[in-house]
């Protein structure tokens, strides 16, 4: 197990990552996760939407620490060029995420519409009631 980890952590001849780029990638991943944390802290991002971004940050970190893993994944995918494998994975991930956001947006748009309709109908009902009471002044004061 240890040997496998070491092999994955060592510089792989198939992955063109120098120690320098690996350090930069790791720092970027940490900074990214820090940014996500900060956004949650400032109430600009809800926790339930942050999980996926933490997973992405962890993925970046793992990729920087063990570039050999990428070779394993590329081999499993049957892709000769590990860079292509990396880009495909990231692209598919972002595509799925974007679609997920569209679904969330659609649901929220439907909810907003129903909310607006309910409010409009409540106001119409209030107008109808005040009309039945014959107190026009009351309906006017309600409007203002």
């Amino acid at each position: 197990m240890n040997a496998l980890l070491l092999r994955a952590a060592s510089e792989s001849p198939k992955v063109h990552l120098t120690s320098q780029t690996r350090i930069i990638a790791a720092v970027l991943a940490l900074a990214f996760m820090g940014l996500v944390l900060e956004l949650i802290r400032r109430d600009k991002l809800q926790e339930r939407f942050s999980v996926v971004w933490f997973v992405a940050g962890l993925g970046m970190l793992v990729g920087a620490a063990f570039p050999g893993l990428l070779t394993l994944v590329a081999d499993a995918m049957g892709v000769r060029d590990t860079n292509v494998a990396l880009f495909s994975i990231v692209l598919l991930f972002l595509l799925g995420l974007a679609l997920n956001f569209s679904v969330t947006m659609s649901r929220q748009a439907a909810q907003i519409t129903r909310l607006a309709q309910e409010r409009a109908l409540e106001k119409a009902s209030a107008q109808a009631r005040s009309g039945e009471n014959g107190s026009k002044a009351k309906s006017e004061s309600l409007e203002s």
Binding site: Q117, A120, L121, A128
Partner: protein, 242 residues
């Protein structure tokens, strides 16, 4: 029968009061509801001055959402029949009364007012559409007929009458983007009796058509996708049986 006539209106302050007065005259028995779709002009004030009940959406939600608001109100307030017409004055309320007769006589669940008197012709005597509108009309006719296996001439007509089965269906399932066409497909798919009645329409007295050639092309493209997707939607038998 208790009847609700509702009028979706978005920035129609010039014409809405006249339409309300016309509806009162032609359909004195019916209750009247104006659905103000987030207008920024005096539509709401004019409607109230004209004595109509107003359901005001807090922001513009599109025609589909406005119409759905009307169906929802009709369903909840226990109306047995409802009808709607445009606020720009091109739909004479006398013709709406004819649509409602079909509902009262239980000859259909949903009645569409068609501006084309002769189903074979793209133009009628009083109505001369622009080229882009003619193309759009032709395309939608073709695809809607293909999808529903029923002949429709005026697929985007905003003059309709409906009974409670339709209210129940449309208040839950109504596309906010492509209300006119998809609702016809939906109603036919749910096994409702949809009927088209030739009616006389007028030139609009206020507002302008939103269709430019580019928008028309996009509108047509979107409509085709909506119809295609609509063919694969699950049915909701429980919604229309009530």
């Amino acid at each position: 029968m208790r009847t609700l006539v509702f009028i979706p209106a978005w920035n129609e302050e010039d014409s809405v009061a006249n339409v309300i007065a016309d509806v009162r005259e032609s359909l004195p028995e019916a209750d009247l509801l104006v659905i103000d779709d987030g207008s920024t002009d005096g539509t709401m004030a004019r409607s109230r001055e004209a004595g109509a009940l107003v359901a005001s959406l807090p922001f513009n939600q599109g025609l589909g959402a406005a119409l759905q608001t009307g169906y929802l109100y009709a369903l909840r307030e226990g109306y047995e029949a409802c009808a709607h017409l445009d606020a720009d004055g091109q739909h004479p309320p006398r013709e709406v009364a004819r649509l409602l007769e079909e509902i009262y006589g239980d000859r259909a669940d949903l009645v569409i007012g068609s501006r084309y008197r002769d189903p074979g012709k793209a133009e009628s005597d009083d109505y001369k559409p622009t080229l882009s509108r003619r193309i759009g009309t032709g395309v939608f006719r073709f695809f809607l007929t293909l999808a529903t296996r029923q002949r429709f001439t005026d697929t985007t007509s905003g003059m309709r009458a409906a009974n409670r089965r339709v209210m129940a269906l449309f208040s839950e399932h109504y596309s906010p983007d492509f209300a006119e066409i998809e609702s016809l497909q939906l109603a036919v798919r749910e096994g409702l009796r949809v009927e088209e009645l030739p009616v006389r329409m007028l030139e609009r007295t206020g507002g302008s058509s939103f269709l430019t050639p580019l928008r028309s092309a996009f509108f047509i493209f979107k409509g085709m996708i909506v119809l295609l997707v609509g063919q694969f939607r699950p049915r909701h038998p429980e919604a229309s049986e009530r």
